[in-house]
């Protein structure tokens, strides 16, 4: 098997320029997903993250058919869905999870139909769904880095407000805060994190980058900012190790990165210093408390 040292050699091999590009894009995307995913996990809005991830697909399909920018197509479709979900989730009339279920499967179906209009779509479909490390253009690397700075910047600027809304929506409203606008901000950030990740991880597995590192980080800390930093670290580290293993073993990159994330989560779950399984056995805090869904967020707003 290829050793880590060989992998480092391959990274600087001029014949394999796609490899460092894939590494940068994967790691930056995973880092951003770790930070934004912390909000997703804490709000119990994993399903919304899933919906946004899937709804990006028709936009990418349209862009592919029209030979336009896949990233822009994905952003347009994702943001449109994010705004729709935010609007629908402000009323109590419809069960939010049902609405999301309707929307995102429809969006995904639309994407499949659109992309089938393009000749020779099967190969492209596979790379959209499961990711690909080849064929990332130089400008996509630069774009990913710029977008990461933008997403993290906006998340930092609205951090205080996002925390208030996550903690207690009703109270945020009573302070006179614009909860709908803040929801849209967060959903758009989720969309951008998803679009950044689709290239290497693929549409089907992108949810794992949002949820798994953040969930693992939650087992390790009781503070939000350290949780975000830990999640970013777990995500970026998993991307590095995952890319190495997929390169060494010749297996799909997206799947390998997600599996490495999952191993990180299992380790955190078992050995977490405060909430870990072993610690809980020893009379500490039960480790399953954090996964309780937030009823105040889902449907009661």
């Amino acid at each position: 098997m290829l050793t880590p040292l060989d992998f480092l050699h391959d990274l600087v091999n001029p014949m394999l320029t796609f490899l460092p590009k894939a590494l940068v894009v994967s790691m930056v995307a995973a880092l951003v997903c770790g930070v934004i995913g912390s909000h997703v996990v804490l709000r119990g809005m994993t399903f919304i993250g899933d919906a946004v991830a899937h709804s990006v697909f028709p936009g990418i399909a349209v862009a592919f058919v029209l030979q336009g920018s896949l990233v822009v197509g994905g952003i347009v479709a994702g943001v449109a869905t994010a705004v729709l979900i935010a609007l629908f989730s402000q009323t109590k009339r419809l069960r939010e999870d049902s609405v999301i279920g309707v929307f995102f499967v429809a969006a995904f179906a639309l994407g499949i139909v659109i992309i089938s209009l393009s000749p020779g779509y099967a190969g492209s479909l596979t790379s959209f769904l499961f990711g690909s490390i080849t064929g990332i253009p130089d400008e996509a690397v630069a774009f990913t880095v710029v977008m990461a700075v933008g997403v993290l910047g906006v998340a930092a600027l609205f951090h205080k407000e996002l925390v208030v809304v996550s903690l207690d929506r009703e109270y945020a409203r009573s302070l006179g805060m614009n909860v709908l606008l803040l929801d849209i901000v967060l959903y758009v950030l989720v969309t951008l994190a998803v679009v950044m990740s689709i290239q290497t991880i693929g549409n089907v597995l992108v949810l794992a980058l949002l949820v798994t590192p953040a969930t693992a980080a939650r087992m390790l800390t009781d503070r939000l900012v350290p949780m975000m930093a830990t999640a970013a670290g777990i995500g970026a580290g998993s991307a590095f190790v995952g890319l190495y293993l997929s390169w060494a073993l010749d297996v799909p990159t997206g799947g390998t990165i997600v599996l490495v994330c999952t191993v990180a989560f299992l380790l955190a779950w078992a050995f977490g210093p405060r909430h870990g399984l072993l610690r809980a056995r020893g009379g500490g805090q039960p480790s399953w408390r954090m996964t309780k869904p937030n009823s105040a967020l889902l449907g009661q707003s």
Binding site: R43, E170, S174, L175, K292, A296
Partner: protein, 259 residues
């Protein structure tokens, strides 16, 4: 005396259905006031309209000294990785301003609010590791951070054991003595009669309001809670009234403090 809350002729409809009509309620500065009524009487709706969370279609509400809100505990995401003092700081989000960090005055307000609810020692503890009573005190501190004259508490005692309720009652008393007006909804009639300076019986509108000792007529309670004269509720209210008056007669001067 200045009023902490003045509600006049309030009417509220939710989804086209009238929930409150002709509600009049004036509270003076200082004191603990209980809001009693059956489920669906409009207690939370009254609070939400005072907080301007829902539109009102008739009447007026004024809170000249500011108002702090302590919603029901289940509205808060207690799994959130955040410490007590950070939660209290969220009460000042609007005062701090968008894209800005808390300044010295805000930090001081947080420290003062935590001190008032006797939570200074636990200020750095994550809320996940707190008991129900401690969480309730954190929420009260969050509301107090803006130094409002009026505090709305939506069922603060629900789910708390007796010692914790007693502790909170002491805290409410102390806040009231410092000049804050507390309006709390509760289903615990005994507790309300014993611990409140004033009571309001609400069912879509104000059925009666006054000192607990003035609300002895069973008819008021029957009308408010929609029960017959054989209801255990009336017996409970009557027994509490008898017990408090027996207790208070030999100590007439103690009455003011006890209630």
């Amino acid at each position: 005396m200045s009023e902490a809350l003045a509600v006049r002729g309030l009417g509220v409809a939710l989804g086209g259905r009238p929930v409150l009509h002709d509600v009049d309620l004036q509270l003076p500065a200082g004191g603990v006031h209980g809001l009693l009524g059956p489920n669906g009487a409009g207690k939370t709706t009254l609070f939400r309209s005072i907080m301007r969370l829902i539109p009102i279609h008739a009447g007026s509400i004024s809170t000249p000294g500011g108002v702090g809100y302590v919603p029901q505990r289940h509205d808060v995401m207690w799994d959130f990785p955040i410490t007590a003092q950070e939660v209290v700081l969220t009460g000042l989000t609007r005062d701090i301003g968008l894209f800005r960090r808390p300044r010295r005055a805000h930090v001081q307000s947080v420290a003062d609010a935590l001190a008032r609810v006797r939570m200074t020692d636990l200020r750095s503890r994550p809320i996940t590791e707190m008991s129900g009573g401690q969480r309730q005190r954190v929420m009260i501190a969050r509301a107090l951070a803006r130094r409002p004259q009026l505090l709305l508490l939506d069922e603060p005692f629900t789910g708390l054991d007796m010692p914790t309720q007693e502790l909170l009652t002491g805290l409410f008393r102390q806040l009231a003595d410092e000049g804050t007006t507390l309006l709390m909804s509760t289903h615990d009639l005994t507790h309300a009669i014993v611990a409140c300076d004033g009571l309001t019986l609400l069912n879509r509108t104000v059925v009666a309001t006054g000192h607990p000792g003035e609300l002895r007529s069973p008819k008021l309670w029957m009308d408010t809670f929609d029960v017959s004269e054989h209801s255990p509720l009336l017996r409970q209210v009557g027994m509490v009234h008898r017990a408090t008056s027996l207790h208070q007669h030999p100590h007439a001067d103690y009455e003011e403090q006890a209630c």
